[in-house]
């Protein structure tokens, strides 16, 4: 009869009912048919011990067929990842870095490239995906996610490696763990923290011969903070050529500072050690 036949018999559901999805829940009636009888909802809390025992047998029968028993969001994410792998939209980027960065960084980059795709198509899932990357790879993973989302791997690091593998090796270990080429403004950063970080990273970029430093903000509050800093510290920023890229619709702001001139004063209020960006 199969597991689904057993399940229908268990709830006295007509044999011919074409159920395609079964949801184990913890609310509602003991069972309920929805979506034109295609979905069967089973409230596990409403079952007595004997019924749970029968359902346990049916569930094991289901698992023995080799299928997954997944939490609903996990199932959606896994299906999306199978589809993503099938399309392999970022295989050339991963292929480029495969033998030149540590395996853990490559895995973090792989996850970050997926996150970047979601950033474009479904931004609501991004905070959880970013959290997962940081949980698995620490702050280094978080930096990789930021750098990847902003396009630094293909637009800067690839070119850097192609022009000088030695320079790439030297800078990679400054760029990835410390993110010296960019300040990513996030929601709980105070303006003073942002100013200090901008100044610190400008000094680091100059020290290591990187001719630019970028400031990134996503979301209304973060982009507003960046604009206010540019206005409040206009004298400081007047010493750099800057280009501003803004997409108001998406709430994205990026500021490129070209580091050809020295600023007259430090923007940071504290005298940080420029070799330790924190």
């Amino acid at each position: 009869m199969g597991w689904l036949g057993s399940l229908k018999a268990f709830f006295h559901i007509e044999v011919g009912t074409r159920i395609t999805n079964v949801y184990y829940t913890h609310y509602g009636d003991k069972y309920e048919l929805r979506d034109g009888d295609q979905a069967l909802l089973v409230n596990l809390n409403a079952l007595n011990n004997d019924e749970k025992k029968q359902l346990r047998t049916i569930t094991r029968e289901y698992l023995d067929t080799g299928k997954f028993l997944l939490e609903a969001k996990t199932k959606s994410l896994l299906e999306d990842l199978y589809d993503y792998n099938k399309r392999s939209p970022n295989s050339s980027i991963l292929g480029f870095f495969r033998d030149i960065i540590p395996p853990a960084d490559l895995e973090a980059l792989d996850a970050s490239l997926y996150l970047r795709e979601k950033f474009i198509s479904d931004r609501t899932s991004v905070p959880q995906l970013k959290y997962d990357i940081v949980k698995n790879f620490g702050n280094r993973g978080g930096n990789i996610a930021n750098l990847c989302t902003a396009g630094y791997f293909e637009n800067f690091l690839m070119n850097l490696y192609n022009s000088s593998p030695e320079q790439f090796k030297r800078l990679y270990e400054l760029i990835v763990p410390k993110s010296i080429i960019a300040v990513f403004v996030y929601h709980d950063m105070r303006k003073e923290d942002i100013k200090r970080e901008i100044d610190l990273k400008i000094r680091l970029c100059k020290r290591y011969g990187i001719p630019f430093m970028h400031i990134h903000g996503i979301g209304k509050d973060n982009t507003k903070k960046i604009k206010e800093i540019l206005a409040e510290e206009s004298e400081y920023f007047s010493y750099y050529q800057k280009r501003i890229f803004e997409d108001e619709g998406k709430g994205i702001l990026a500021v490129e500072l070209l580091l050809s001139n020295q600023p007259p004063t430090d923007l940071g209020k504290e005298n940080d050690d420029p070799t330790d960006p924190g």
Partner: protein
């Protein structure tokens, strides 16, 4: 081909404890998934690490393969 072939079972996030109970597992005081009959034995995920109730995303193959719900674990699973 049976009529079962295309049908799947999924569960609500809030029903995770009940699912574990169906699979003869429980959760200890630290939130880690353990064998119901022997709580000293931690259940392991595919990568060989223990997993918490919060991390539990599901199972495969007769409840032998426990799956974490985070992006990195699922990317590894999708590549197997």
């Amino acid at each position: 081909m049976t009529m079962d072939e295309g049908a799947v079972i999924v569960f609500d996030k809030n029903a995770r404890k009940e699912i574990l109970d169906l699979l003869d597992k429980s959760v200890n005081d630290e939130g880690i998934i353990v064998e119901k009959e022997d709580p000293d034995v931690h259940v392991l995920a595919i990568d060989g690490t223990e997993l918490t109730l919060d991390e539990f995303g599901g199972v495969k193959k007769g409840s032998e393969v426990f799956i974490k719900s985070d992006l990195v674990s699922l990317m590894r699973l999708a590549r197997r």
